[in-house]
């Protein structure tokens, strides 16, 4: 059976080994340091390119919006287009009224006036 040593004595024994290990230096080569710095600069370039790409893709949208007069104009334009399309599809009869082909109302109105004229004539004639 292995003899058990008190912690302090064991630590003293091990300290010699730890001191020896601490004395061993692992100096990085210049090539290694260059590779690490190159990685850093590559990352910077990649981020810059990515940021430029994002800026370019945003700018054409912003330019388009500016050309049509901003958000308010864009909203008004969209609303007008929607109303126009809806009117075209949803109420084709209204188009007859606008073009003057809707004669039913005019007929009723003409008949009403005719009837009124006739009654007045009857009263005059007795």
């Amino acid at each position: 059976m292995m003899e058990k040593k008190p912690d302090t004595e064991r630590d003293k024994d091990l300290a010699v080994f730890f001191d020896a290990a601490k004395g061993v230096e692992y100096t990085p080569s210049a090539a290694f340091m260059d590779v690490v710095v190159a990685d850093a600069l590559d990352q910077t370039d990649a981020r810059a390119k990515s940021a430029l790409g994002q800026k370019a893709s945003t700018s054409w949208r912003v330019a388009l919006l500016r050309n049509i007069g901003g958000w308010k104009s864009a909203t008004a334009l969209a609303a007008s287009a929607f109303i126009g399309v809806t009117a075209g599809y949803a109420a084709p009869d209204a188009l007859d009224y606008i073009s003057g082909d809707q004669t039913g109302v005019e007929t009723v109105a003409e008949d009403s006036f005719s009837a009124a004229f006739d009654i007045a004539a009857l009263f005059r004639e007795g």
Partner: protein, 190 residues
């Protein structure tokens, strides 16, 4: 700004400068941290090529995280130690079982080389013994007794309590003492 002029600039400030595209800040961070990251990787992995891979990977992760770095939340050194430790532990766990038998014996079992310094022999013997520890015990002992970090920082790096750090280092040292006890005479310690 010249590299020397950045000696007094804090890590957090350098991270902001680097995130804004400052190449000198990248160099300053590299010269400040890469050697320590490499040393820790080398101590844990015992292979310089592998250690360089891990150190490069850890530093690359630092460059990537720079734009989102939250100042004052974590120390750059602690963050790097943590990333490096995790990368090394992953590699050690993959190697365990398959390469355990490939771990070189301490230098003293080889023919003695007169020019080899005794302290180098001890360091080699310690490394060989530490390679036999479970990965997290190895990490805790390395951070505490070779990198000489305080227990609270080790707890942050390993994401465990200070008590757990103390327990890991104590168990690790107990095992190391057993592994090294038979070599004390050869290493000029008795």
């Amino acid at each position: 700004m010249a590299l020397d002029a950045m000696n007094d600039v804090s890590d957090d400030a350098l991270m902001v400068l680097y995130a804004n595209g400052d190449a000198q800040a990248a160099r300053a961070l590299t010269y400040r941290h890469a050697p320590r990251v490499l040393a820790l990787s080398r101590r844990l992995l015992r292979d310089m090529a592998e250690a360089e891979d891990v150190a490069q990977d850890a530093m690359l992760r630092l460059w990537k995280v720079a734009p989102e770095w939250r100042q004052g939340e974590a120390k750059v050194s602690t963050w790097l130690y943590r990333v490096t430790s995790n990368l090394c532990i992953d590699r050690l766990r993959k190697k365990r079982g398959t390469h355990l038998d490939d771990i070189p014996e301490p230098a003293d079992d080889k023919p003695s080389v007169e020019s080899l310094m005794q302290s180098h022999d001890r360091a080699t013997a310690l490394q060989a013994a530490m390679a036999q520890l479970p990965a997290r015990q190895n990490l805790a002992v390395t951070l505490r007794h070779i990198e000489e970090l305080p227990n609270p920082q080790i707890a942050q790096i390993m994401d465990i309590s200070v008590d757990a750090v103390e327990s890991l280092t104590a168990r690790g040292k107990r095992t190391l003492a057993g592994l090294l006890s038979g070599q004390k005479e050869k290493l000029g310690l008795e």
